[in-house]
């Protein structure tokens, strides 16, 4: 099995009377994109803005970030179940707009959306400040309930990303990366002496808008299952998640899952990548136990000797993380966990809501409670007043000059628990 990812580097954005890409510039026909998105009758209005690296721009409140992509060869289409049919993806050729995103913006839950600064100290906390972002500020029709509002904005982001991705259809990619993925039996035969590593991908599915979708399906009610790594790269998993912005996996995180990419790149070199196990993150203990038992069973079936387990969100999902760890270690499968911490502003508090002694190998992606003051930006896309109610913000976050003081938890993806960024903590 093989997926060829053709990367088209985007270095600037501009509006134009048609949508196309030339010399690394993505030209967007604003009206056409607006009309396409407004085919959804729940959208009253959608404004389209650009945010480029280094600009004095603050985007708030942000729901999701999607990378524009388009499948040019092979079965299915990106974001199956939403843009494409539910046909299995992950093979053939897919074009991606590298260094470019679609950001959906607007008040939905309001507590759980995040912010991005395109310059200044806030810009170092996530990768998206270094990208060319097409921002959709979506106003729903009056009286739309929150759940439909969430779905409307989610689908609009995916549609816009596929629409922009399609502009690369006939281009020759600047760079191509080929991901090979072998069947389990084949992989074991090919690399008998390499350590067999699997990835346990915890997908938040707590209901109440802490949800994600696999081929359009909410994994809330599933038993843990297998997926091929290239399906994930091809858009099989999308975010509908309105959990805290710092550590929910936005769609772009799933598409570029750094654990999957690293394991694919090292497959056959210093490890044998034996599989990806999807396991859900529900709220009830019995569901957590069932998911963790079953994930361990799948790991044993595929012959994993070691697993990386990633968490999504924090607090309640720590129990899923620790149960997965405990069960795997008890079955003789070595684990490394990726998580983040809420250790208080002074960093002195216990940073996790649940622990197990088996968790002796943990990667932390930072302490979300760290306070930071971000200078005013010349332009705000969205609604700056949201800063006082989003996660990490508080009464008094917004200063009269437009500067803001927040915990870094309010910055989109700042503590991403797939290990997308470089932030970590050290003991002082």
């Amino acid at each position: 099995m093989q997926l060829e990812v053709g990367k088209i580097h985007i270095r600037d954005l501009a509006f134009s009377d048609r949508t196309y890409i030339e010399d690394g510039v993505l030209y967007v026909n604003k009206k056409e994109l607006q009309d396409y998105l407004k085919e959804d009758k729940n959208i009253k209005d959608v404004d389209i803005e650009f945010a480029r690296p280094g600009e004095s721009v603050r985007i708030i409140p942000i729901k999701d970030i999607v990378q524009p992509r388009y499948k040019v060869e092979g079965r299915g289409q990106v974001f199956p179940g939403f843009v494409g049919d539910v046909e299995t993806v992950g093979e053939g050729k897919t074009h991606i707009l590298e260094g470019c995103t679609v950001i959906t913006c607007g008040k939905i839950v309001n507590f759980q959306e995040g912010l991005i600064d395109m310059s200044g100290p806030g810009a170092q906390y996530n990768s998206f400040s270094k990208m060319n972002n097409v921002v959709l500020v979506i106003t729903p029709v009056d009286g739309l309930d929150k759940h439909t509002h969430e779905r409307t904005v989610r689908v609009a982001g995916l549609k816009a990303a596929a629409y922009l991705g399609k502009a690369s259809k006939d281009l020759t990619p600047d760079e191509t990366e080929v991901f090979r993925y072998d069947s389990i039996i084949e992989a074991a035969k090919l690399y008998p002496d390499l350590p067999k590593v699997a990835y346990v991908y915890m997908i938040q599915s707590q209901g109440l808008m802490h949800d994600n979708y696999i081929y359009g399906l909410n994994p809330k009610g599933i038993l843990s299952t297998l997926i091929s790594p290239t399906e994930v790269i091809d858009g099989a998993i999308v975010s509908g998640n309105c959990a805290a912005p710092c550590h929910k996996n936005a769609t772009i995180h799933h598409l570029n899952n750094p654990v999957i990419l690293e394991l694919l790149r090292r497959h056959g070199k210093d490890l044998c990548f034996i599989g990806v196990i999807i396991t859900n993150e529900n709220t009830m203990l019995v569901d957590k136990k069932r998911g963790a038992y079953y994930a361990t069973k799948l790991a044993r079936i595929i012959g994993a000797e070691g697993v990386i387990i990633t968490e999504e969100g924090g607090g309640n999902p720590e129990t899923d993380l620790m149960l997965n760890c405990k069960n795997m270690e008890n079955a003789g499968i070595k684990t490394v966990l990726i998580t983040d911490e809420y250790a208080g502003r002074d960093g002195r508090s216990q940073g996790l809501a649940d622990v197990t002694p088996e968790a002796d190998a943990v990667v932390t992606c930072g302490n979300g409670n760290q306070l930071i003051t971000l200078p005013p930006m010349e332009k705000v896309i969205g609604f700056l007043e949201s800063v006082e109610v989003i996660t990490g913000g508080f009464h008094g976050s917004l200063h009269p000059d437009g500067s803001i003081t927040v915990e870094i938890a309010s910055i989109m993806g700042s503590l991403n628990e797939l290990g997308f960024e470089r932030l970590t903590t050290k003991l002082k």
Partner: protein
């Protein structure tokens, strides 16, 4: 540049008063440097001057800790000093505890940099490493020169207000603060590297040693429910409309209490949730779903409980630091007990 002024604390032995037989020596003050202070002064060159030395017997300090601290603070307050050093105490237990305690007290009262140095297993480390900088040193006075060298270097840094690096660079015992830093590699790459090491049986270092949780002993059951006052307490963020006390949607810095006397039901639009960790739709639609006032009134009427307490307590338990949660819990429990409440129903989300 004017020299920084330092006060130095030593025990009776290093203060050259005597051995164990002089351990009940009350605090005395000498101008200038004494004992190890003389050597320290030469290491400090012109950057700082030890203007006074406090000498106190180990036994006296151990047996009369509060008095000893009070006397010492009184003795040194007439000096205008910029920093305070105690020890080094090596592995001497009573001396180590005294060094830690006096440093902490001086830091609190005079707000100046303080520093001591001990062997990592000195009991003073466990007691005071979270509050003050304690430099690691060897077990005995044979390590005096190295210990003083480190004290000299580190106190200069503190006095000049320079940024303090991590324990492994600076040689102090970690104070238990987790600080954000940028790693060379992204988290995913670090995880794969760590896993391969672990699988091969090589040494690896976790980035987050598992914290040890406090266990709260459950309170004994309420004996006489029919005659008891029961309170409602929630971490689900239920507040009157517009959140009058501005409780944060995450990492709450406070709790609030609201009067519910005569109220039988939390009406949509009058109460709301400000919790940022869950979908608020159902709680906004009926706040009783998170704070079950309606159900409590029913069992109050049925006589299952004597009375529902007139106030409910509320905060947000969403990425809220455990230290804050402990503080809220203790304060709420204290208020409830002093108001004759014998049980509380805690609702979370």
């Amino acid at each position: 540049m004017e020299k920084f002024k330092l006060v130095h604390y030593v025990n009776q032995f290093y203060g050259q008063i005597g051995g164990e037989e002089k351990a009940d020596q009350r605090p005395i003050l000498k101008d200038g440097s004494v004992g190890p202070g003389v050597q320290l002064q030469s290491l400090l060159n012109d950057s700082a001057e030890i203007v006074a030395t406090v000498i106190c017997g180990d036994t006296y300090f151990a047996e009369n800790t509060n008095e000893a601290i009070g006397e010492i603070l009184e003795l040194i307050k007439y000096y205008e000093f910029d920093g305070f050093i105690a020890g080094p105490a090596f592995n001497a237990g009573r001396y180590g505890i005294a060094c830690g305690a006096i440093c902490k007290a001086v830091q609190e009262k005079f707000q100046v940099p303080v520093l001591t140095s001990m062997y990592p297993e000195n009991p003073g480390v466990d007691l005071y490493s979270k509050d003050i900088y304690i430099l690691k040193c060897g077990k005995s006075a044979a390590n005096m020169r190295e210990a003083l060298n480190n004290i000299g270097r580190f106190i200069t840094k503190l006095l000049e207000g320079r940024e303090i690096g991590f324990p492994e660079e600076e040689g102090y015992i970690p104070q238990g603060r987790r600080v954000n830093v940028w790693a060379e590699e992204i988290g995913a790459v670090r995880a794969v590297n760590m896993l391969l090491k672990k699988m091969k049986g090589e040494e690896f270092e976790t980035e987050l040693p598992m914290p040890i949780f406090d266990r709260v002993k459950p309170a004994p059951p309420v004996k006489d429910m029919e005659n008891s006052i029961i309170a409602l307490v929630t971490t689900g963020g239920i507040v009157p409309k517009n959140n009058p006390d501005h409780i944060e949607s995450a990492n709450a810095s406070k709790f609030a209490k609201y009067n519910i006397e005569g109220l039988n039901d939390l009406k949509k639009g009058e109460y709301e949730t400000v919790h940022g960790g869950f979908d608020p739709v159902y709680a906004l639609d009926d706040p009783d779903r998170v704070l079950p006032l309606d159900a409590m009134r029913v069992i109050e009427k049925e006589g299952v409980i004597g009375k529902l307490y007139n106030y409910f307590y509320t905060t947000v338990g969403n990425t809220t630091a455990v230290s804050s949660a402990e503080r809220f819990g203790e304060a709420i429990a204290k208020e409830l007990i002093s108001n004759g409440v014998s049980g509380a129903i805690l609702t979370s989300t």
